[in-house]
């Protein structure tokens, strides 16, 4: 029961703040709501017993990437940006895309429900102490099965870092 309530709680926050993020005119407010959405997602990770991902989400996403976003928002001129029209004239396209996506996934749910005959699988409840230690398992998986992707990811980050430095560097 607690699990369920926690899920609905975090899910509600996530969706509400995501909506607010897209609709706010002020970019800083958008960023704040995105942070809230990300934190709520972290909560959902925790509810799914993915503790390590929960803290990675907080440290990297919220504490790293979002700080970068806020930093850039403050660097660029906000006063000018506020006065201009914020929404493109593509609302109908957006609605269409959204509807198409929703329809597609809805169809998927519908067929899968029909095929299995008894609806979607339910996550089994496991007592917290019977789960394997999360960060250790993730680490083992990461450094044993997925070592190559890990290295590629680090190279990607390096490239991104160099790229960002080159981009943001002042050309004098």
């Amino acid at each position: 029961m607690l699990d369920k309530v926690l899920f609905y709680f975090f899910a509600a926050i996530a969706v509400a703040s995501a909506v607010l993020m897209v609709t706010r005119r002020n970019v800083v407010h958008s960023a704040i709501f995105l942070i809230t959405a990300l934190l709520a997602t972290a909560g959902i990770f925790l509810q799914l017993r993915a503790e390590f991902l929960f803290i990675v989400q907080i440290i990297l996403y919220v504490g790293g990437i979002m700080v970068l976003f806020v930093f850039v928002i403050m660097l660029v001129n906000l006063d000018v940006a506020l006065q201009q029209i914020q929404f493109a004239r593509q609302k109908w396209v957006a609605l269409l895309v959204a509807l198409a996506l929703a329809a597609q996934v809805g169809f998927m749910f519908w067929t899968s429900g029909k095929m299995a005959g008894q609806g979607l699988p339910v996550l089994t409840a496991v007592a917290a102490n019977r789960l394997p230690a999360n960060s250790e398992t993730v680490a083992h998986s990461l450094f044993e099965s997925y070592l190559l992707p890990f290295e590629i990811a680090s190279v990607l980050l390096l490239v991104a870092m160099i790229g960002a430095v080159v981009m943001a560097k002042k050309r004098t």
């Binding site: 029961m1 800083v28 407010h29 390590f52 440290i59 504490g63 700080v67 806020v70 930093f71 403050m74």
Partner: protein, 452 residues
């Protein structure tokens, strides 16, 4: 629907009533603790600066924090006209909330930890306390003032840079334990584990963390975001009264958090110094002696107080000291109280180490000038981060060598000491290169800019 929520709440309370109670207690007591840390800081500063410090409120200014808190609470709450009201309200709350939440992951003794045995342990503390940066950045932005914004930008840049160095330093220590769990980390330093504090195994990492933690908490000499002589008060410029005191609370809570992390990882947490050496067991009497000494000093000083109330107050403090002293003595001598040994003495040693760490912070603040922003960034990126990365590598190599030679405990020093020495040499090399670069830069800086 309501029924379900009620049921969930009951379930939650049944599962987590003890941590919840502890949390409430901490949130209630912490402002007082922070107030007294500030008082101690002012007293120490006064002592080092050849003056007396607060003396008026209570004997030797002992009630000053309460007076300060009252003053802050009844001050006018000013919100600047063009401020973003929502964010202006949110920012200090975020700041203090993150700092308080981070406390939950810390273990003050083997028994006292709010978030019991979480798997991600130390990462939780570090990650959550890092969220406090949003309080600073958004607060600076929301007050709509140049000084605030510059303070906010400075601080976010500073925090992001020094977090890397601090994280790397933590990794060096974590290599010895192989776990993130706070309790396991401390136990790895007791006689069940290596039996040696990690500060001895990874001194360079401790040094890096020390510097980075000062920078992360925005303390002197890295207090640029709030440098009063440059940016008035940095991101706090427009805040007053209660909001300002929230920032203040967050800053000092963060100090407690980083010192606790350092204590846990490097200084053996709640363990007594040399806990694994049996013939040094008489050290168990040190806490009692210390506390009783303080009490005795109070009794000696009490008759010299000018007012009757102050004399009584001093005597009360002395009495409290004796009671605490007795409580500390009991587990050592009385067999019945033996089970409480780890809890009571653990708490004492933990708080003692944290206090020493904070004392070091303060000492630095009174002694040395402030860095300039570019120097601060250069120190972070050109010195601390390379050093900490190299140190992680060296510690890793040392550990592999230790495993190869089957070294344990104090024996590990054989391999970690050379690693530390190499790291120090690297540090000196980096510093030297920096110095030359600086010298070259200084020659060109002044002549270039007058043209514009």
């Amino acid at each position: 629907m309501m029924n379900a929520i009620l049921q969930a709440t009951l379930e939650f309370l049944k599962l987590y009533w003890a941590p919840l109670l502890c949390g409430v207690a901490i949130v209630a007591i912490l402002p007082l603790i922070v107030g007294y840390i500030v008082l101690v800081e002012r007293k120490l500063m006064a002592d080092m600066q050849a003056r007396l410090g607060p003396m008026r409120v209570g004997p030797h200014g002992l009630l000053q924090p309460i007076a300060d808190a009252l003053k802050l609470l009844i001050k006018e709450d000013i919100i600047p006209d063009n401020a973003d009201k929502l964010v202006f309200w949110l920012a200090p709350v975020l700041s203090v909330g993150a700092a308080l939440l981070a406390l939950a992951g810390l273990a003050i003794g083997p028994a006292f930890q709010i978030a019991q045995d979480i798997n991600i342990g130390i990462l939780f503390v570090v990650g959550i306390s890092a969220l406090g940066i949003f309080g600073i950045v958004l607060g600076g932005w929301a007050s709509n003032s140049h000084y605030s914004l510059m303070g906010a930008l400075r601080s976010s840049a500073q925090l992001v840079s020094y977090e890397t160095a601090a994280g790397m330093a933590l990794v060096s220590a974590l290599l010895f334990t192989g776990t993130l769990n706070v309790k396991s980390i401390v136990l790895a330093q007791s006689k069940d584990g290596e039996g040696i504090w990690f500060v001895m195994l990874a001194p360079v990492a401790f040094f890096t963390y020390l510097v980075a933690s000062i920078a992360e908490t925005n303390r002197a000499p890295f207090d640029l975001p709030e440098a009063e002589s440059e940016l008035v008060a940095g991101y706090m410029t427009e805040f007053s009264g209660f909001r300002w005191s929230l920032y203040f609370l967050a800053e000092y809570t963060n100090m407690i958090v980083v010192s606790s992390v350092a204590t846990t990882l490097f200084l053996g947490g709640w363990l007594r110094p040399f806990a694994s050496v049996p013939w040094l067991n008489f050290l168990d009497f040190v806490p009692t002696l210390l506390i009783v000494a303080v009490g005795a000093y109070c009794i000696v000083r009490a008759p010299k107080q000018p007012a009757r109330v102050q004399q009584l107050f001093m005597l009360a403090v002395a009495g409290l000291c004796f009671v605490v002293g007795l409580a500390l003595l009991a587990p050592v001598l009385v067999p019945v109280a033996k089970p409480f040994y780890a809890g009571i003495h653990g708490g004492f040693w933990f708080i003692f180490k944290v206090s020493l760490y904070i004392y070091f912070f303060m000492w630095l603040r009174f002694t040395i000038p402030r860095y300039r922003f570019d120097q601060l960034m250069r120190l972070g990126w050109h010195f601390l981060i390379p050093l900490s990365i190299i140190n992680v590598l060296l510690v890793g190599v040392a550990l592999i060598a230790g495993a190869y030679f089957n070294l344990k405990g104090w024996g590990l020093l054989l391999v970690t000491t050379p690693a530390a020495v190499i790291a120090l040499v690297v540090a000196l090399l980096i510093l030297n290169a920096e110095k030359e670069r600086n010298a070259r830069q200084n020659q060109t800086v002044a002549s270039d800019f007058y043209a514009g």
